[in-house]
Every structure is written in C-alpha cells, then in structure tokens.
C-alpha cells in the first residue's frame, strides 16, 4: 500500500467511487458536458431522474490517468454504481435500452409505475370523450 500512500489523487478517486452510490467521471459538467459521449450518458441518467455525483476529469490530466489505472478502462465517460464500473457511453446506452440499467439502479418499480401511469392516462380521457 506504499503506492497509495504516495498517491493522493488515486486515493481521492477510490474514495469518491466507494462513497457515491452512482458516480460519473465525465468531460465537463452535467450542466455543460464537453463531449458528446459524456452528454449522452448524463442525459440518460437525468431521464431516469437518477441523482448522481459527477467528476469533471478535464481540469487535471492526472485525474484521468489515475482513474484509468483504478478502473482498467481507457475512455471517458465512466459510470460506477455501488463501487463497480458499469461502463462507458456505449454500454450505458445499451443497458438503458434493454432496461438493465434501470434494474441495476433499482428503478424497476419506478419504471413500471411510469408505464402504468402512461397506460392509464388514455382511459379517463376516453371516458370523458364518451360523456
């Protein structure tokens, strides 16, 4: 562990990953993403109303270097859930389409509720229309 003792950046990244249930390392900020892949990943999390911590890797090249050393993943963005690397933009997009992301985030119930609400919506309208 002598390596980590002399590597405060790596320590900071590892604590951030373990302390935040959902954390996204990205280029730019959720408000102003600096890359299309980061933007797409943020948009998916926001569409699910999923709160997440975000780290902008651009201000210091050492963040990206240490992050990739920790995760073994070379590209940005990188999404972690419960301390585990989920993947980059491609994987997040695929898992969102398949519903696996919602499941991983524990949003299954919420999703079902939304679907039910949507399905239920036309019914009262139809009744009104009949009246």
């Amino acid at each position: 562990m002598s390596e980590s003792a002399t590597n405060p950046m790596r320590d900071a990244i590892e604590s951030a990953i373990s302390e935040n249930p959902v954390i996204l390392f990205m280029k730019g900020t959720p408000e102003a993403p600096a890359c299309g892949f980061s933007a797409r990943t943020v948009a998916i999390l926001e569409s699910l109303d999923q709160p997440f911590a975000a780290v902008n890797i651009l201000p210091d090249p050492a963040i990206r270097q240490e992050l990739s050393a920790v995760s073994g993943w070379p590209t940005i963005p990188q999404l972690f859930v419960d301390g585990e690397l989920v993947g980059g933009c491609d994987i997040v997009v695929e898992m969102h389409s398949s519903g696996e992301l919602q499941q991983l985030l524990g949003l299954e119930g919420a999703e079902a509720a939304v679907t039910e609400a949507r399905a239920a919506e036309p019914a009262p309208l139809a009744i009104e229309n009949l009246l």
Binding site: W73, P74, I76, L85, G87, D90, E94
Partner: protein
C-alpha cells in the same frame, strides 16, 4: 496522423482471432460493430476491454473516439 476505418477493422480482426469487424468513421470518431465467439459469455465490460486492449494507449489519443457494438456469436 490519420487513422482509417480499414486499419481498425484489420487490427481488431487480427488481434482477436475469429472476429469479424465492420468499422466506419471519419478519421477521429469511429464506430465498430464486432462479432465473434471470443465475446460469448463475457460481460459487456469484458467484451469492450478485449477491443480496447487491441489499441491500448492509442485510444483517446490517435484514435479519438471508438464506439463499440458487440454481437457475440452464439456458437463458434
């Protein structure tokens, strides 16, 4: 130094035996659709890492962005 989709295709196919790749791109941003028995049974993370490993530090540098879609072959 510009990178061609053809170069990426050949490197994926020779780097991961039994794989076929279809790569499109503009010299900086690429999309690869890759299929092969090497990906079967692996997690998405492990599948993408197989491809990342072919290019190493060139990713994000010489190859600005590589989007990956995997079609694992059911049987070899």
């Amino acid at each position: 130094m510009s990178v061609s989709p053809e170069e990426l295709k050949q490197r994926i196919e020779s780097g991961i035996p039994g794989t076929s790749a279809n790569v499109t791109g503009d010299g900086a941003h690429f999309e690869a659709i890759v299929a092969g028995p090497a990906f079967a049974g692996l997690s998405r993370i492990a599948q993408h890492k197989l491809i990342y490993d072919v290019f190493g530090t060139e990713l994000g540098d010489r190859i600005h962005a590589l989007s990956i879609k995997i079609n694992p072959t059911e049987t070899a």
